[in-house]
C-alpha cells in the first residue's frame, strides 16, 4: 500500500523542491517589488492617529510573523496569496478617502504583475498537491483577509477604516519581506 504512494510522494517532493528552487531566482525581484508597494502605500495620505476610536481585531496569522513555522515550499503559495488579497482589497471603493487615484493605480499594477508572475508556479503546485484546503497556512491567511474585507464593509468603506487597513497592509509587507529573506538563505 505504501509502495503505491512512494512514487507519488517522491515525485511531489521533487517537483515542489524544484519549484521552490526556481522560485528563489526571482526573490530579489519580489523584494524590490515590496519596496515599491510600501513606498506607494506611504504616499497615500491620512494618519491613523485620527482614527484611534476605530479598532480592528483581525490578527495576521502567526506563521506569517514567524517564518520558522513555515516550510520553504509554502513560501510560493503564501507570497501569491498575499499579493492576490492585497490586490483584491485595493480594488475596492476608496472614494471616501482623499487618496490620489494614480497612486492606487500604480499599486494595483505592481500587485497585478507580481500576482501574474507567480500564477503559473502556483497552478503547478496546486495540481500536484491536489488539495489547498489541507494547507492550514493558506486557510489561516484567507480567514485573516476575509475579516479585513468584512471590516471595510461593516464600516462602509469610511476614510478611517481605509486608513486602518492601509496601516495593516504596510505591516503585511514588512512580514512578507522578512519571510522572503528568511527563506533565501
Amino acid at each position: 500500500m505504501a509502495n503505491r504512494y512512494i512514487f507519488q510522494i517522491a515525485l511531489l517532493l521533487c517537483i515542489t523542491t524544484a519549484l521552490a528552487e526556481s522560485y528563489t531566482l526571482d526573490q530579489s525581484q519580489q523584494k524590490s517589488s515590496i519596496l515599491v508597494c510600501q513606498d506607494l502605500l506611504n504616499q497615500l495620505n491620512g494618519s491613523a492617529t485620527d482614527c484611534l476610536k476605530q479598532r480592528m481585531n483581525s490578527k495576521i496569522p502567526e506563521e506569517i510573523k514567524n517564518p520558522q513555522l513555515l516550510q520553504k515550499e509554502d513560501l510560493v503559495l503564501v507570497t501569491y496569496e498575499l499579493f492576490q488579497q492585497i490586490f483584491g482589497i485595493f480594488s475596492r471603493n476608496f472614494s471616501r478617502t482623499s487618496w490620489n487615484e494614480t497612486i492606487v493605480e500604480k499599486l494595483l499594477m505592481e500587485l497585478y504583475q507580481q500576482k501574474n508572475q507567480l500564477k503559473t508556479t502556483v497552478e503547478e503546485i496546486i495540481k500536484e498537491t491536489n488539495d489547498i484546503w489541507g494547507n492550514k497556512h493558506i486557510l489561516n491567511l484567507k480567514k485573516y483577509y476575509f475579516s479585513l474585507m468584512r471590516y471595510l464593509k461593516a464600516n462602509k468603506y469610511s476614510s478611517c477604516a481605509w486608513i486602518i487597513i492601509k496601516t495593516e497592509i504596510i505591516r503585511n509587507f514588512v512580514y512578507l519581506d522578512k519571510l522572503i529573506s528568511y527563506f533565501s538563505n
Binding site: 525581484q29 519596496l35 480594488s91 505592481e110 497585478y112 496546486i126 489547498i132 486557510l139 480567514k143 476575509f146
Partner: protein, 551 residues
Amino acid sequence: MLGLLGAAALVLVTGAPWLLPEAAGGKTLKPPQNVEVIMIDDSFTLKWNWSEHSTTDVFFSAAYKTAEMGDWEELPGCQHVTSTTCDFSSLETNVYSEIQLRIRTEEGSSTSPWHELDAFTPAKIAQIGPPGVHLEAEDKAIVIMLSPPGTEESMWALEHSSFRYNIIVWENSSGLEESITTAYPNYNVYNLSPDTTYCLKVRAELPLLKKIGFYSPVFCINTTVENKLPPPSNIHIHPRDGFFALQWDYPYDKVAFQAQWLYAFLKINPESYEDKWKPIPGCANVQTTQCAFHQNDFPKGIYFIRVQASKGNHTSFWSEEKRFATEKQTVIPPPIISAKSINANSLHVSIGTSKDSGNGSVDSYYSLVYEVVFWENSSHSERKRLEKTDFTIPDLKALMVYCVKARALLKDDKQNRSSTFSNTVCEEIQPGNASKVWLSVGIGTALFSIIAVFCIMKFISECIKYVFCPSNKLPSTIDEYFPEQPLCNLLLSPSEEQMERCFIIENMNSLTTVVESGHSDGDHKRYSSQTSQDSGNYSNEDENNESKTSE
C-alpha cells in the same frame, strides 16, 4: 426532600434527553434525518427529512457554533420553521472558518435531541453559481460582460480576481460550437458573421480551489449588419528609441484613427471599465496607420490598446484589444575597476561600484556577478572570466602590458541583463622573485660573455701581429738608411708595389756613396765592387722591371 429536588434539578440541568419525553408524556420526538447543507454562492440552505406523522404542528430549529464562539447560537432564518428546509443566508460568518450546525424538532413544549452535523468550512463545500451575463452586439463580434457569481462581499469576496470563465458559443443555425476559457469577465468574441444569431452559456471556475460552477442559462443575440468602416486589424507595438511605435492595418485610406489604452488589471475587474479607456497622447487623431508615443507615458506595467477608425460621421467598432507589456529598463550601473601587479606574473583586480547609483535601494537587491575581459596589449587576444569583486589573474607573462575591463551581470538572470563595460585599466606585469634571479643571471652572463669575446678578439689580434708582423732590429748603419718598414706591410698591404731596397756593392775600393732615395719605385744604390764573385746585381726578380743601373 431537598436531596431529591437537588437531584431532579441536576438531571434537568444536564438535560438528559431520555428523561424529557417522560416528562412530556412518554413520546420520543425524533430529530430531523438526512440533514444537508447546500451553499451556492451566498445562498445557504439547510434541508432535511422528517417522515414522522404528527397530529400537531411540528417545528424545527437550528443553531450554529464556530471555533471563536463559546456557545451555540440560534441560526438566523432557521428558527421554528414548519417546512423541511430553511434559508440561513443572512448568517454573517467567516467563510474560511469551520462552523458546526445542529437541528432539532420541536412539538409543543417538547424537543427532540439535537442532530449535530460534522463541522465544515463553508467556502470548501460551497458551489459556484452561474455568472451574470450581459451581451452587446457588433457586426462581427459579440461583447460579453460577465459579473462574477455572488455579491461583492460574500462567499467569493476573496476570489474575485481568480475566477476563470468558460464560454460556449455557437451559431444558432449551424450549431458550430466554440469553447473559450478566459480570465477576463469582459470578453469579446471576434470573427463572427454579421446579421447572424449566436447563442452562448457561461460558467465560472476557481481552478485553485478546484471548483467548477454551474452553467448560466443560454443567452442569444443577433449580430448587426456589416458596418461601413471595418475596425483596424493586426495591431502591433515596437519599442524604438524612447518611443513606442504603434502600427495597424487598414484596407481604406483617407480615414482618421484614434487609439486608446487601459490598465490591464482593470480587465479582471468585473465592473464596467468602458469609461476607463484613455486616449493615447500622440495617437488621438492620426491620418496614417501608425503613430508613436513616449515610453515615459507608460511606466512599467501591462496595458491593453485598441484603435478605432472614423470617416466623417461614421466610426468603426473598436479593434481587437492588444495586450502590451512594458519592461522595466533595469539600469545596472557599470562597475569601476582597478588593477595592480603585485605578485609574480599575476594581476590583482578590484571591482567596485560607483557611488552615484540613482535607483540605489532597488538595485541593491540584485545580486551581481562580473564578467572580466583581459588581453595582452600587443596581441589583442581576449580572455574572459566570471568572478567576484576581488581576485588575482595568475600565469601572466612578466614585463608584458595587460589591459582589463569588466561589466556587471544580474546573477542567474534569464534575460542576461548586464551593465555597460567599465573603464579599461592597463598594467605592466612585474616579474616575480624567481624570474628576477634568472633575469639578473642572464644579464650577468650576457655582460660576461661580451667582455670575454672582446678579450679573445684582442688576444687573437695580438697573436696575428706577433706571427705575421715580427719587429726585426736591423744594424744601426743600415737602419739609418732604412726606415723601419714593418714587413707585415708585405702581407697586409700587397696592393702597393713594394720594391725591395737593394744596395749593390760594386767596387770595394771606391765606395761611392749614392744618395739613397726613399722612393719605392726602385732607385737603388750601386756600390761598385771588385770582387768578381760579387759582381752582379742582387735584385728581386719580381720588382726588377724597372731597375736601372746608373753609374
